[in-house]
Structures are given as C-alpha cells and as structure tokens.
Symmetry: C5
Subunit: 354 residues, 5 copies
C-alpha cells in the first residue's frame, strides 16, 4: 500500500489567477511533444516534434492529434496554448493535476479534463490527469507523464481502412475518452479481485492488517468516486448541450461512453456497500474469538476450582476429621471429584461450549 | 451459495467501439434461432429456422417473433442485426451480457435490455440478459442461453381466440416484459423465505455461517437493486416519451408493468432494511452468549475461591493454631463454608444471574 | 406477535394481464353487497342487495354508495365492474390485495386504492385493502373482508340535516379517505404506547425478547411507511391534477387529508428514528451488565486469590520453616490476610467498583 | 426530564371534518381576549375585552391586534372565527394544537400556524401552538395558553415614534413571526449548553443516566426539527408566492426571518450529528472501563495462580520429597516465587497494563 | 484544542429588526478604516483614514477599496453604511459575525458575506467573518478584526502593470473571494495532516485522547461544511443571475472560484467519511486489546488451575493414600504436571494464542 501523494495545490495559494504553474508531483522526466496527422489516405507520426515546427506541420485536410507528455515544462504548455489561442485560465487548469474532472466549451473549442487510471500492482491505483482540447481540426492531449493507454488507437490508425481515419476530430476526441473509461473497467476488475481476497481473509483469518486493508480500500473507493462522478456529470452536460463541433453520430457514441461511466459509478457504489459490510464481519469475528477464549477459561476454571476446593478441605489439619481415617475415604473423594468434573463437562456439552 | 461469475467485460477493453464480441460466460451451447409468426387467424412456430430462410419467412400481415437463444455465436447475431439494419453499437450492446438494463428508441425501433431472473435453488439467483428489439412488425428477442420463461406466451398463442393474436407487435413486446417482471415476484418470494429462515436462525442458533449468509443476502439484494432500478427508469422513460410504435392501450399496460417494477423495488428496499437489522441482532446474540459464559465463570469462581481460601487457612502448618484442636472445629468450618456458599448463591439469585 | 401472512402474488405469475384472480388470504367469509342511496331528503340502506337488482336500484338524483365486502368472490366483482364499465386492468388491481396504494383517473372515474389499518391488540396491526371508485353519481367501495370503519359515516347519513347528504359523490369519496387516514392516527397512538413501553423495558430490564420486539416494531414501521408514502403521493397527484369530478370545496378538504397524511408520515419517520436509537441503548445495557458481572468476578478473585496463596505458602511441608513455630505466627498471618483483603476492598471502593 | 404529553388527536377520530373540538392538554386556565389597536398617533390596549364588544371596537384607520389566549374555550374561537368569516377547516386547525406548522392564504387572509418554544429549565422545552391570521387591518393571534413572548412588541408600541405604528398589519404579522424565531435561538443556546455538559460527562464519568440524557436530547432534536422544517417551508412558500396583503418591504424582512429559520435548522442538524457522535464515545468509554476491570483481574490472577501452584506442590504429602528436607528449601522456594511474581509484574509493565 | 466560542446571537433576541448591534466576540481592538484607490496609472493607500474624509477621498475614475477592520465600533459601520445608502437590514447582517454566508444584490450593489479561515496551530481553525459590498466603483470590505489575508493583493497593486489596476471593481471583488477560497486549501492541507497523524495514532497507540481528537475533528469538519456549503450556493446563485455590475470575463473567473469551492466541499466530505471510518478502527483496536488481556488470563488460569488441583489432591491428609508412599510418587506427579502444562501450551499454540 502506497502513501497518497501530498497535495501540491498550496503552491498556488496567493498567486493571481491565470498564473501558469505546474501543480503536481515531479516525475523526473522531460516533457515531450508528438504530432499524429492523418486523413482517409495517409497517416504520419512525428515523434518527437519541436514546438516551433508544430504550426507548419499541421494537416489542413485531416485530423491533427498533438500529444503533450509531461506538464512540468510550463513553457511548452504555454507556447502550445498561445499557438491555439487557449485562454489563460484554461491553461492554468491544464497544468493543475489536482483539478477536478470537468468540461468547458465555447464556439471554438471543447475542453475536457479527466483522470486516467492504471492499477500497477493489485492494490495500488495510479491517477494521472489527462486534458483533451478539441480545436478546429486538432485534438490536443496533455498528459501528466510519458507512457499512456492510447497505443491501441495509434496502432489502429496505421491500419488502412480503419474507421478513425474516415471520421473527423470529434471521433478521435470520443475514442480517447472511450479508451480512458474502458481502462476504468480494468481497475474495477482489479478491485473486485481485492474485495474477494479481503472477504476470504475476513472470514478465515482476520487480523489488524486486514482492517487496515479494508480502510485503505474504502478510501480508494471514495477517491475513485470523486473521479468518476464529475466525469459522468461532464459527459451528461456535453450530451445535453450538443456543442456544434460534435456530430450527431459521435454524440451517439458519447452516449455510449456516458452509460459506461454510469456503469462504473454504480459498480463503485456497490463495492463501497460491500466493503462497508466487511467491517461489520471483521468486528464480529473479533467478538467470536473473544467468546472462544472466554469459553476455554470458563470451562477450565469451572471444572477445576470446585475440585480444588474439595481437595483443600481434606488438606485441612483439624485434629478431628473423621473422613480422613476412613479406609476408602481417599478413593471416595477421588470418585466424587471425577463425578463432579464429568457432570461439569456434561453441562458444558449441553450448552454446546464443548 | 455460488461464486459470482467473473466479469468478462475486460475482453473488450482496447477494442474499437462497435466491435462485435460476446461478453459473458460460456454456457457450452449452440446458438438457436426460432420464428413464431401469427395473426388473428393463424400461428406458426418454425423451430429451428436457418438465418438464411428468415427473411423470406416473415409474415407481412401479422406479428413475427424472432427468438435468438445463445449469444456466443456472434456471426448469427450480426446477420440478424444486418437483416433488420440494427446499428453496430446496438448489436454490441446485445452481445454484452454485462450491459446495464436500458432503453433506446428511434423512429424505427424500440430496444430494451433487461435481466431475467431465475431462482434455481433457494439461495441462488441466476441472472440472464434479455434484449428485446421491436422493429416494424417484428419482435426480436436475444437471450443469453436456451430455455426461457416465455413458454406460457407460446402456449397462449396456440389457443384460438387469445388476446395476443388480436393485437400488434407492441402488445407482444409488452407481454414479454410483463412476464419478466412477473418472474421477479417469484424471486422476491424466494428471498422472503430466505429472510424468514435467517431471522429464525439469528434468534435461535446463530453461528459464523449465519453471518456469512446475511452478508451474502445483502450482496444479492444490492445486485438485484442494480438490475431493477434501471429497468424502472427505462419503463418510466418509455411511458413518458410514448414512442409512436406503441399504441395508447399498450401504454396503459406498460404503466401497469411500471407500477409492478416500483413494487419490486420497494420490496427489495424493505428487504435490505430488514437484513441490515439482522446483523445487529446477530451481534447482540453473540454478546448475550458471552454474557452467559461470563456469568457461569463468575458464579463458579465467586463461590469456590473464597471457600478454597478458608480451606487453605486451615491447611496451614502453624504449630499453634487453636481451632485445629477444637473438637468440632472441622464441622464448624464446614458449616461456615456451606453458609458462605449458600449466601453467594442467594446473592446471585437476587441479581437474577441464576 | 403474529407471523406476517405469506405473499399470494405468485398466484398470478404467468397469467395474462387482466386475468381476474383474487390475490390475498382466505378470510373464510362470503362476499356481500350493500347499497346506500341518499339525497338531501331521503336515505335508504339496502343490505344485502343482489347484484342483479343493483342496476335498477340506483338513485338518479342522489348519491349511490355501493359497498362490496369480501373479494374472493371474483364473479361478483366482475359483474359489478362490467355494470359500470370498469377496465379489466382496474378490476385486476381491485382483486389484488397486495396492490401498492395508488390512484388512477380518466374522464369517467376516479380510482383510489389504499390500506385501512386496525390495531387489534396492542402489538398487531391488521392491513386491509380498500379500493374506492367514484363513477358518475356512484361511489363503489371494495373491501377485503366484512366489518369496516365506516359505521360513523352510515350513522351520520341517517341524521337529518347532515352535511354529507347535501353534497355530492365527491364529498362521500373524501369522507371515506378521511376516515381511513383518521384511523391511521389510532394506529400511531397505539405505536406510541408500544414505543414508550419498550423504552421503559430497555432501560429497566431488557432481555432477548425486548430486542425481538424492537426488531418487530422496526419492521412494522417499515411496512407502515410503505403504505403511507404512496397514499401521500396519490393524494398529492389528485390535488395537483384536479380531476373534473371533484369540486373546488372538496379539493380543500382533500388538501386537509393530504396534510394529515404528511403528519402521519413524519410521525412514522420520527418513530423509526426513536426505535433505531433503542437498539443502541439495548446494546449498551447488555454491555453494562457484562461489566457488572466482570466486576464481581474481579473483586472476588482479586481479594481471595492472593490470600489463598499466602495460606498455601504456610501449608507447605518444608522441614525448616521458622515462622511455623513462632508462637503468634498463625495470628500474625491471619492479621496480614485481613489487612491485605481490606486494602483490596479499599482499592475497589476508590475505583467505584463497590 | 419531563414525560412528553400524550397525543390528544384521537379525540377527533370519527368526527366529521370541520368539527370544532379542542385538541391539546388542559392547562386549567380560562380563555382570554385582548385587543390592541393602534395607528401612527394612538395606541390602546383593551385587556380583557368581551367578544361581543370586539366588532365595535376595531379601529378603521389603523391596525387591530386581537390576541386570544387559551384555546379550550371552543365557543370563543368559533365566535371570533365567524366574526371574521374564517372557514370551518381553518378554525378546526387553530383548535388542534398538534397541527403541523403550515401556511394558507386566500385573497382575504394569510394564516400561519407555528410553534413557540420556551426552555423553562435547562433540559425541558415547552412547545406552544401559535396561529396568526392576518385579515384586512386585523392580526388575530391564537395562543394555547396565557403568558407569551410578545411583551417586547407591546412595550414598543407604547413608545411614541416606533416603527411598528408607522407600518401596516403585515409588519405586525412579520414582527410576531420574527419574535418567535428569535426565541428559537434562545432554545438553541440552551441546547448548546446541554450538549457541552453532556460532552464533558461522557468523557469524564459516564453512567446509564448519561445515555438516557443523550437519548432524550436526540429525541428533543428530532421533535425540534419537525417544528422548524415545516416553518421554513411555510416561509419559503410565503416569500415565493408573495400574497397581495404583504408589501415588498415586509417581504424583505420576511426573507430575513426565512434565513434565520435556515440558520436554526442547520444548527439543529449540526447538533444532531454531534449528539450522535456522543453515543459512540459513551459506548467506547464503557468498553474502556471493562478493559480496565479485565486488566486488574488478569494481573492478580496471572501473578498469584502460578505462585499458589508452587505452594500447592510443596504442600503435598508424599513420603519422598527431597526438597522438603533441604535446609534452605523453604527460602529458595520463597525466593523463586518472588522472582516469578516480579517477572510477571515486569511483563505487565512492558505491556503497559500497569 | 480550544473551546468553541460561545454564541453571542442571543444579544439580539427581542430587539426590533435592523437594530445595529455587534454580535461576536470582543477582540479588544479598535476599529480601523483604510482606503486604497487606484486606476491604471496610480495607486494610493490611505491608512488609516478618518470616516469623515472618506467621502471626499474617493477616486472618480478608478476603483476604491474601503477596508473596515473591527466591527465592534457600530457607529463607524453605521456611518459608512449611511454614506453608501446601505439598507438597515444589510448593516445588521454585516455586524452579526454569526451570520450564515450568503449573497444579496439589487441594481445598486452586490453584497456577499463569507468566512475567512486561518489555521493558526495545527489543530485550531479561526473563523473570521468577511462582508464584501460592491457598490458603484467602490468595494467595501468589513472584517471582524485587524490583520487579514489580502496583503498579496495590496502588494500586487503596487506593482506597475498588474492586471488588477487594468480592470474594474468586479475584478477586485472576484480577487478578494478568490483569495479567501485559496486560503481554504491551506486549511484543507492542515486537516489532511491531522487526519494522517490521527490515522497513525489509531493504528499504533490509540487512547481516550485519540477518540477525543477524532470527535473534535469531526465537529470541525461539520462546522467547515456549514461554512463552505452556503458559499458554494452563493457563488452558484451569483453566476446564474449574472448581476449587471459583473462583466462577462469576471464571471468566467467567478466560475473558476465556484469550481474551487466545489473542490473544497468534496474534499471536506471525503475527510468526513475517512474520519468516520477512524472511529470504527479505534473501537476495534480497543476490542483487540481486550482480547489480548483475556488471552493472557485464560492461558495462565488454564495452565495452572488444573495443576494446582493435582497438587491439592496430594496435599490431602487421608490416612490411606497409597500413592504418597510410592518411592517415585512425587516425581511421577511432577512429571504428570509438566506433561499437562506442556500439552496446554501446545493447545494454545495450535489456537495461535501464544
């Protein structure tokens, strides 16, 4: 289990709005720019491309996908922003990786920010911010760090006669979001596995660590919900407002992504309910164990304390204790003790403690 | 109790939208196609029918019910979809058995996907996906596997002078949904039985297994709610939007199904509340038992430990212990012990521990 | 406490819609038909009346109240339904005593179904279904069994110069609903008594049975809420839509009933909150008792175990134990034990355990 | 802590609507009528005034405040109601002190019913029903019993040049409501004190009585919320609908009262959350104490039981026990016991139980 | 941890509306007035300025920021209010530091009241009321006490060519609110630290004090939510209604602040969920410890009580006890005891209690 990364947003407190500053962890990478331009006939991947050549390299009759990886190079983001006339506030949002997922659009552009999720190992989920700007015949993606989940799209573009090439920017825009949401299902899948493992643990051999894992999972689900809820809202808003840049057929596709996001959301809520139930079972298991401990104590004490008393009686040193001098006194007492002990055992069996 | 089947949806991650791929468990069956065509006068059941003959076999003046059982044969679904001009996305949804229940309609068709429920044994509920497409004078049903709950409808169609034959496709569409929702009541009935059994167990002889069953039932109710809530929404949307394909009188019937779905929903929520209460009672029962154990221990220890002490005192080997030499010393001490023991018993009786 | 009656609704599963079948428990009574017809001048009560005479007996210029008691005679209900041209689906609903309370109206009729409540003994509430149909100058009431809560209305009709006779069918319709909701207050009153008794029990002498009663009461409140919530919705809908059959002054009265139903609802919710709190107090009481048991054990054991140890020491048979031969050794040890015992008592007093 | 008064509403069950009957506790007072009439120049307080003189005493050009104290005199309320042409249902509501707070208005009048609160002693809150009817140039207040919170208003009216005299009936209407809501803050203040005391108790010396007080406070907060929520609704409705009798400037004032009622509501909800948290802390405290008791027992038993065993061994009467004849056997055993005892003490210290 | 300050609002109970009275704690400072006037070319800071000179010092062609620090000088607030023609009710609100955050605007002014937060030490948050009135070309800020969070803005105004100077009053208005909300993030940051510390404590070494801190934090979060929720509402209302005083570009900025306030709100809710979870873990930890105590007791008692019994048997003084005279009787018994003791240890090891 990894420590959640410290919030960096306080870097910005006190700065005037529109101050371009990178808010996020330092991934220790250099920023990179990539251009993929294509139309029905051709497809070209210029990787890396220098920002100064970008403007001249754009395809007039086709789709230009400009991909920025690594946001700490504020200057790069600013130059690209200026190239496409993006507003200062929007660029500020792109640079703030703690931005709440959201959508904005004007007549010129559609801007969507959301989180891509990777589940590296089974119990750790990595959140990465992705901003997608659709502007004229360009789609610009800003990613927090290098390496992404869009290789399937790049491969597909290489294939002749793929659907992507035949359609416009809005379809690429949709495919990017769709890929992100599809990846959410992978995370759900990994969560589902974790929950099953935890369920088994809670019923078989729960310990303090199990509770810690439950608490961790609960927090993870809370964070995930905070990522998915605003995405669903954004998509719902996009579909309702139907910006002119987006064609009707692409809207149908976005509707599909929207219903997937609802699916993810409901699944997360289901998981939260189940994990909450696990705490109860854990608690009960602790009580059960205490109960078992108490039973052992009670059985041992209840059987032997009275017997010890009897032994104590005949260990007294009174001068006049007639039983002591009976020939079979000792054996009678031993017999009595056995009988008493066995009747206690019988009593506990009847109570089902044994 | 059965393991919930593993999600298959990750099969689709990374594929382009509209990729026709079956998402669901492998039932090990071959897909089957069936055509039932009828009008006021005649009714014919062609089972099985080959997909190539389908187009020519449709009845012009009547209702055609095309039933597909088994979705793993993607090619079959695709051919039928193409025959009726269904959109790629819609066919993708039909093939995805983890689809959230929902509704879609255009001028041409009404498409509803929902879950049919069987409760095979008392504690296991089987979910099966059903997609119903109403298109022109055809109703196409896509079922996850062979064997369904619609035999009553088929029987009814054979009867001369039944209401189904006199009415159009929309009435058949309604009857199919109605049958599904009616089956939900069977599941509710089985759940109600389970809850009663669990209630009895929790009050009489709860153990770890009982808690597991409660947790299992809680999860089952959560899953059921996730199936019924979107169905109610779909029906509500259908009734509100009144697609042209659906006549006013059928709308009245659909309204009836809608209110049944509300009934199912409220009952499920009631069950959830009751099952949540059971956890509390279970917990309390554990505490009660612990209490009882503690009481036995306390009574035994409180009576015999002081007595043992007295015996111990007179077992000491001091040279000068006058009582030891009294003639009735022993009997007096035995009397004293009896008195002490009885007064403890009396004390515990007063406290109602005995 | 009575067992909740088994749901009968599965009788209907698989039947076509509009199938007239009685869903409910068998009360072992014969169905009965009653006609009360009145106007400003006259009032006549024909009880029983045969269904064949009904049509001819209706008063043209006045109000006809047709009361059906006992729904298992499906034929009777059907004949009356046909007489007044009621729809098949509506008659199906009347015969289904597990119907959710609801309202329907067309130009011809207003149909309201709700539950009447009796609290026979203090802890048992009997639910009975009542359907009221207002049609032209007739009000038809369908009751689950004989014996009802409307005798006050019948008595009032006998009085000359009562308000009922001066007003139309809609006022009778209102008075029937008003009477039902008024009866809810009686049930609330009885529930309030039960809660007070339970509160006292929980604080004074709670046992397993108390918890069972709390759980039972919680379930009862859940069921009651499921009865009252849809009634409030129905009334709200009726008031909002203002069907033409209902005059403005009667609407004012219905508004009054509506606000009563809100009152009932809020009171039920308050009760639910209070009863939920009782579980906590009960749990705590169990813990408190455990605590007391533990204290007794701890006090007894802590005082006598060390003393027994001392006695044990001087019961050892070592050849060389100087103290044993001191003249006042025994008395010194007894004194020491007393001192130790008393200091333990003092310690426990300081801890407020004694 | 006082017992909540028994509901009287069942008095009305079975009576026709509009039956004038007093529903509430008997305060053992005689009803009283008071008239305060004023305009910019004059102010006159006629107390008591006979109902027969009322009609003749009203001021044409000014404001008439008719105050009725004590509602059990149904005849008095009826005569006043008839004088101002109040509807039967409205008078019924005035007489029902268990009425839910609410508002009604027609072209002629505005009718608001709400609860005034007094917190007599620290832990008891007295609810009294107040109905305010604004009619033409009259404001009629119906109070449950004599003695009220409006003396500040009466005093103010005596002052020359006060704002009340310069403004109309709607301003008096507002001032009455404002005074009531202001009094709610006094109750909040008293509740805040109680919560602080309870918090201290729960952390320092909680007992069964503390839990009872928490439960009592929780119930009190539930009742208060049921009083304040509908008042806020009523005010919101009044402001939204802007009845013609109320001037724009008075609406601004009412808006202010509305925001005060929201403030009261939010504070109550905060209190409820805090009090709910107290139960948890109480529960934990009980567990803590149990823990302490267990520790004492465990320490005493764990130290002395093994020692007693050793003593027991050397109290055995075997003929051949070499140790018994060692010269320093006794002292060695005593030394061993001391060492064992001290190592247990050391062990418990390490575990931080001592 | 500091005691929450006592509510002062009861000072106002009974006073007529619009009574100007300071509601809040006495900070023991003198009130202060400051004027900052600026336009694109110049900026002047007159600090302090006398209220009598204020009117003459305002800049016609520029922005005037009038800052009042300390509200207990009611006369000062009143004079400023009268100067700008503020309504009596509005001035009353400004003076009431327990005012709920809210917004009001007419054609002339926009009035927003909100809370500024400082987190002095790690666990104490200071709430201060800030009222901002935008009126013509003036922005008037009323602060509860001297010293504020706006120094960054003042510094920025001194810089030539800053954005603030180029824009109007609405931009200053926005910047003030933005600064307040930015400060909320600092508080969130401090809360996040506290939660992490508490989490560690709860898992490692929880005690009664930890619970108190959790309860304190929970209350703090409740209070914070009560501050942020109405601010979000106010901003939402402002953006929706678009008062004429606010330009479109500033609205975009306010939209940004709004989304920040949503971010703050969601984070607070997340924190509340996490803190609630901590209580559970704390409770469980207590149970765990109890369990450990019980285990030690049970192990000690279960091993030694039976052994003591055996010793007791052979301490009996019967004349005829053959074993006592066996040569190796003693050693056999010691061996037996060892075997029994070891088998108990083995048993506990198997149960994983050791």
């Amino acid at each position: 289990m990894a420590k959640r990364k410290k919030s960096q947003i306080i870097k910005k407190v006190g700065l005037p709005p529109g101050s371009l500053i990178y808010v996020g962890p330092d991934h220790g990478e250099t920023s990179k720019l990539q251009l993929i331009r294509y139309n029905v006939r051709d497809m070209e991947n210029i990787d890396p491309i220098d920002v100064s050549e970008l403007s001249g390299s754009l395809l007039e009759n086709g789709v230009n996908w400009i991909n920025v990886e690594g946001l700490h190079d504020v200057g790069l983001v600013e130059r690209i922003g200026n190239l496409f006339g993006l507003e200062q506030l929007l660029m500020e949002d792109i640079l703030n990786t703690e931005q709440r997922p959201g959508i904005e659009y004007s007549e010129n552009y559609v801007y969507l920010t959301l989180k891509t999720l990777h589940s590296l190992t089974q119990s750790e989920i990595v959140y990465e911010q992705l901003s997608v700007v659709m502007y004229d015949n360009c789609v610009i993606t800003f990613q927090e760090r290098s390496g992404d989940i869009f290789n399937a799209i790049r491969e597909r573009l290489k294939h002749p006669d793929n659907r992507l090439s035949k359609r416009g920017t809005d379809y690429l825009f949709y495919r990017l979001i769709d890929t992100v949401v599809d990846n959410y299902f992978l995370v759900l899948h990994s969560l589902s596995d974790q929950i099953e493992i935890l369920e088994d643990k809670v019923f078989s051999s729960p310990d303090q660590e199990t509770l810690r894992e439950i608490q961790y999972l609960k927090k993870e689900l809370i964070y995930l919900l905070r990522v998915v809820v605003p995405l669903r809202e954004s998509l719902s808003k996009l579909i309702r407002d139907k910006p002119t840049d987006i064609s009707d057929s692409t809207l149908d596709y976005l509707n599909d992504v929207y219903s997937h996001s609802v699916h993810v959301l409901e699944t997360l809520e289901t998981y939260r309910d189940i994990v909450s139930g696990l705490v109860n079972i854990y608690m009960n298991n602790i009580s059960q164990k205490m109960n078992e401990v108490m039973k052992v104590l009670t059985i041992m004490a209840s059987i032997f304390i009275p017997l010890s008393f009897v032994a104590g009686v005949y260990g007294m040193n009174f001068a006049n204790m007639p039983e002591l001098h009976w020939k079979y006194g000792y054996f009678m007492v031993i017999g009595l003790m056995l009988a008493a002990g066995l009747s206690m055992v019988f009593f506990f069996r009847k109570k089902k403690w044994l």
